[in-house]
């Protein structure tokens, strides 16, 4: 039986940051990683642009990950790689984890758990693409794995559905490797990826972006031979007269990410339907005592810098965890706000400063974010632009708002004022 104060599940940017921070705060830390190497998805994100907020540099994914891995190794934090958590059981005040690895089955007794399990991609079936089931339908992440880690080409001529960042990055990457990207089709009237990615990944390479369009059908028996695309109306229904068949060998999907919370679900941890991640307090502790969540498992981030930040928050607090009863006020997304993290403020905690992450539901220009406590506006911040692809981060000190257990805090966007 291995014993730990803080056990972190997932060795990507969130897990690494959590492990380092928990170690800094004196906890005995164990990190568990499913794959052979630490770094998570950053291993295959070989493009640059990571770490601008944190390091003021444009690092590539592997470089960003390796900065943390270096510190992780220097601190001699224990890591179990190629190890998979099959089960978590509650044991007294803590938890017992069952691990499987090439050495066999192991048990870990831990006081706290940090879930840093990242996210997964939505699939073709989840966006209801119909037709045949040939080879040649990939998620952008799978295509990225093939190209950047395996050194093989999943396509020569493709259509990309969805303008999520990985899709845009892959459009450029595949073009650089000699493939022809015929177009990026986006269901929404606005792009889902960052504006600069639209420019540096599509415009630079003359790859057309078709907004309010979707792929409706796939053709081909063995290998994909064509897709059908169509423009959609306001209700996102394909317009028949615009249906068009495009010959290609692949359909690459970048249609959204979903936090991976299968382990959280086995523990019956409350999940926020808006984020698809666990409901957490300002310390990123879930509604289950001693279990924390961070990174893309908590909510899907667009910048890795914030993934690391939430990892640190979780790591620091997990290291300091003591059993106690928490009392909560609740944060809710109001008008124009898609989601808010954290969803709870633990009023028994000394720290009433919270880093609040939120996303807008649609594009707003010249607007302001208001924080309403029990009907009264207590905080306001102005924004020139709010866009759904861009997560916003604000720090709010709730200490002065005189919150009581059961109070509601609403974040809403007020339009047209600046």
């Amino acid at each position: 039986m291995i014993k730990a104060d803080v056990t972190i599940i997932g060795g990507g940017p969130a897990g690494l940051a959590a492990a380092i921070e928990a170690d800094k705060n004196g906890a005995k830390v164990l990190l568990i990683e499913r794959e052979a190497r630490l770094g998570g998805i950053l291993k295959q994100c070989i493009h640059d642009g990571f770490g601008l907020v944190r390091f003021g540099e444009r690092l590539t994914g592997p470089e960003y990950a390796e900065r943390f891995m270096q510190e992780f190794n220097e601190r001699n934090i224990e890591a179990k790689t190629l190890t998979f958590v099959t089960q978590i059981d509650r044991t007294g005040e803590g938890y017992t984890l069952t691990l499987v690895s090439r050495d066999g089955m192991h048990k870990v007794l831990t006081k706290t758990i940090i879930l840093a399990t990242g996210c997964r991609e939505r699939t073709a079936k989840q966006v209801f693409i119909h037709g045949t089931r040939p080879a040649g339908v990939f998620t952008a992440g799978t295509a990225q794995n093939f190209v950047n880690l395996c050194g093989v080409m999943p396509t020569q001529k493709c259509v990309i559905l969805g303008s999520g960042d990985i899709g845009l990055i892959m459009a450029r990457r595949l073009t650089l490797e000699g493939a022809k990207v015929l177009g990026v089709y986006e269901l929404q009237p606005t792009p889902s990826g960052l504006t600069r990615n639209i420019h540096q990944c599509l415009h630079d390479y003359n790859i057309p972006l078709y907004l309010s369009h979707t792929v409706t059908r796939v053709f081909g028996h063995d290998r994909l031979t064509a897709v059908e695309v169509a423009q959609v109306d306001e209700n996102k229904k394909p317009i028949d007269s615009t249906r068009q068949i495009i010959e290609c060998d692949s359909l690459i999907l970048s249609v959204g990410l979903i936090p991976e919370n299968e382990l959280a679900e086995t523990l019956d941890i409350k999940i926020d339907p808006n984020t698809k991640g666990p409901v957490c307090d300002q310390n990123l502790q879930t509604m289950l005592k001693g279990v924390y969540s961070c990174g893309n498992a908590l909510h899907v981030n667009d910048l890795v810098d914030f993934v690391s930040e939430s990892g640190e928050t979780a790591g620091r607090n997990a290291a300091a965890w003591t059993p106690k009863k928490r009392l909560f006020a609740s944060l809710f997304p109001g008008d124009g706000v898609a989601y808010v993290v954290p969803q709870k403020m633990d009023l028994t905690d000394e720290n009433q400063k919270a880093i609040v992450y939120f996303r807008s539901k649609k594009v707003f220009t010249k607007s302001s974010l208001q924080v309403i406590v029990n009907g009264v506006s207590v905080y306001e911040k102005k924004y020139n632009h709010l866009r759904p692809p861009e997560m916003e981060r604000i720090e709010i000190d709730f200490a002065g708002f005189d919150l009581k257990a059961g109070d509601t805090v609403t974040l809403k966007i007020k339009e047209g004022e600046a």
């Binding site: 998979f84 069952t98 089955m105 699939t123 989840q126 045949t132 190209v147 490797e177």
Partner: protein, 593 residues
């Protein structure tokens, strides 16, 4: 003498009357056809009803032929109507050709690697005969057997007198022992046919009594809505009562097909995948040779278990006396998270709905997912497995009545299968009518999975009888009915799993996170009696890629394991065999230095 003469006269007279009645029946039928489908002709010949003419609408062809079905069960409708609409694509055949089977002289050649062919091959392997199964696809169970809901039917919807009904009752009873022997999980979960209208209770009770006491479906009960909800709390609160069939169950249909074939191979039979029958030579009422893309075979007996293509095989064998009209159906699989919705099989029954699909509805699969479907749509396209939004909508609209919490959001995948019914809507299980060394196991539609083990016993018996008339055929003394599935580590107790990993560390390396499948389990399937080194082949056997990520994370890993095991470059690995390549060579412009 006089008396005798009279007797034979009587016989002749009876025959003449019978013939006249038939003629009249045909005349009447023709009249009705003329009214509904002018230009369509029917004639009776050789114990078949040939329907001829020209139509541009496939549904009309199906209707016209269905009208011509005879009351005499031995008389089949043969569809010779020329379809002038969009023709079906020609049968897909494997790209590869070689001579690996050339000159082979198997005692029995089974055509078709679906559940019928696989169970027949297994039954044949109980004997000391050379049995060879050929399948044109890269894997077994690629058509109807791999694309159905896996329900083991109770037979409650069938009346006495059909082959289907005869075999469904026999087959259903065989499943516990069969699944045990072959190590394929079978769950006798029971089935509920649910009704919202209390007024129907009397009628349904009578129906159930008839099934029970006349048709021999012994276990069927009427239960109250209250009792139904106690067993299945998430079903519609409006259900007033249900017909409960405890003998219904579910099994993984392709898992069973693969297991049967593997067991047959263990016992000495042979399976050749990627092998299509392209032609036959028939001389003096006997098939003398069979041409395939892997050479010419000289089988003693041929068994036609070719599913949607059984009519084509019958035609090649000059023994076509029935016609297949393909019927498409789409099933959706829901995330295991939604598995709590129900633990059995259930469907709303509305009397006005008359479709040619049994069970249907919602089903808790042997793997713990919920399956919704299938629908039933007539089609001329035998191999069009494309899904359409309409099918999913039809199924969900209907099944949301069964379980109001059912939601499309939980769908992780969906697939379409094409069933192979004839116009009589019964099986064709008999020796060739003109061609003597041929046995048909054709027109197998629902409940073909349930009936397969019982049908296979009879078909194999027919083949052995033909062989025994010519030579001595002994039982296979080494036959074992037991086949071990590759170990499923995730289902083992920790200590046993630990022991297995110590022996083979690959069992400790998880490749598929959604279904918790190890590298060792994947390698096991590649070392199985029938190796199908494709991503889909492995997915069917041990399920990596069957979970919610649908292979997003694990497909590159699975492809790498296949490449390593087969000693081929990664870019030669296929999704489903043949030309279904996953990749186009290496990056860096593909050039090696």
């Amino acid at each position: 003498m006089l008396k005798r003469a009279k007797k034979s006269d009587k016989i002749i007279l009876t025959v003449i009357i019978f013939w006249c009645v038939r003629k009249m029946n045909i005349k009447k039928l023709q009249k009705r056809l003329d009214e509904k489908f002018p230009g369509i002709k029917v004639r009776e010949e050789d114990g078949c009803r040939f329907v001829t003419g020209e139509l541009d609408d496939w549904d009309k062809i199906v209707k016209a032929c269905s009208m011509c079905v005879s009351k005499d069960k031995n008389v089949h409708v043969v569809n010779d109507i020329v379809f002038t609409g969009k023709a079906d694509a020609p049968m897909r055949v494997p790209a590869q050709t070689d001579n690996t089977l050339d000159g082979k002289r198997p005692d029995v050649l089974v055509i078709g690697g679906g559940i019928s062919g696989a169970t027949i091959l297994r039954e044949l392997s109980r004997w000391n005969v050379d049995a060879l199964l050929v399948e044109k696809e890269a894997d077994l169970a690629m058509h109807a057997s791999g694309r159905n809901d896996g329900e083991i039917h109770p037979g409650v919807d069938l009346a006495k007198g059909s082959l289907k009904q005869h075999y469904v009752l026999l087959g259903n009873q065989m499943f516990p022992a069969l699944s045990d022997a072959l190590d394929v999980p079978f769950d006798r979960c029971g089935q509920y046919a649910c009704f919202t209208q209390n007024a129907l209770k009397g009628f349904v009770t009578l129906y159930a009594l008839k099934r029970k006491y006349i048709d021999g479906c012994k276990e069927t009960y009427i239960i109250s809505g209250k009792k139904l909800r106690k067993k299945e709390p998430n079903l519609n609160k409006e259900f007033k009562f249900a017909l409960y069939n405890p003998t219904a169950g579910c099994i993984c249909p392709y898992g069973l097909t693969i297991a049967c074939a593997e067991n047959a191979v263990q016992n000495g039979a042979e399976v050749s995948l990627n092998t299509a029958v392209l032609g036959m030579t028939v001389e003096n009422g006997k098939i003398t040779s069979v041409q395939t893309n892997k050479g010419t075979l000289y089988p003693h007996i041929v068994i036609n278990a070719a599913g949607v293509f059984s009519e084509e095989i019958a035609k090649m064998a000059k023994d076509r006396f029935y016609s297949i009209h393909p019927r498409r159906g789409t099933n959706s699989i829901l995330d295991k998270k939604a598995g709590k919705l129900l633990g059995s099989i259930a469907s709303v029954k509305q009397l006005e709905l008359h479709t040619h699909t049994k069970g249907g509805g919602l089903l808790h699969t042997a793997h713990g997912n919920i399956l919704a479907g299938p629908d039933a749509v007539e089609t001329n396209e035998k191999e069009n497995f494309a899904t359409t939004p309409t099918s999913i909508n039809t199924v969900f609209t209907k099944q949301k009545v069964t379980a109001p919490d059912l939601t499309e959001r939980d769908i992780i995948t969906y697939f379409t299968g094409v069933r192979a019914p004839d116009f009589e809507e019964d099986f064709v299980i008999e020796k060739g009518r003109k061609t003597k060394n041929l046995i048909h196991c054709a027109a197998i539609q629902s409940p073909g999975l349930t009936t397969a083990p019982a049908v296979a016993r009879d078909v194999a018996r027919m083949a052995i009888d033909i062989l025994q008339a010519e030579k001595l055929v002994l039982r296979n003394e080494k036959f074992t009915p037991v086949r071990k599935a590759p170990p499923r580590l995730a289902e083992m107790p920790v200590s046993q799993r630990n022991r297995m990993i110590k022996e083979n560390p690959d069992y400790g390396e998880i490749v598929c996170r959604c279904e918790e499948i190890s590298k060792g389990e994947i390698i096991d399937t590649l070392n199985a009696p029938i190796c199908v080194p494709t991503v889909d082949g492995i997915k069917k056997r041990v399920r990596p890629g069957m979970g919610r990520c649908q292979g997003g994370f694990c497909s590159p890993l699975v492809a790498q394991i296949i490449a390593e095991h087969q000693g081929i470059p990664l870019e030669e690995v296929t999704k489903s065999g043949d030309k279904a390549f996953l990749l186009f060579g290496k990056t860096k412009g593909g050039e090696e230095l």
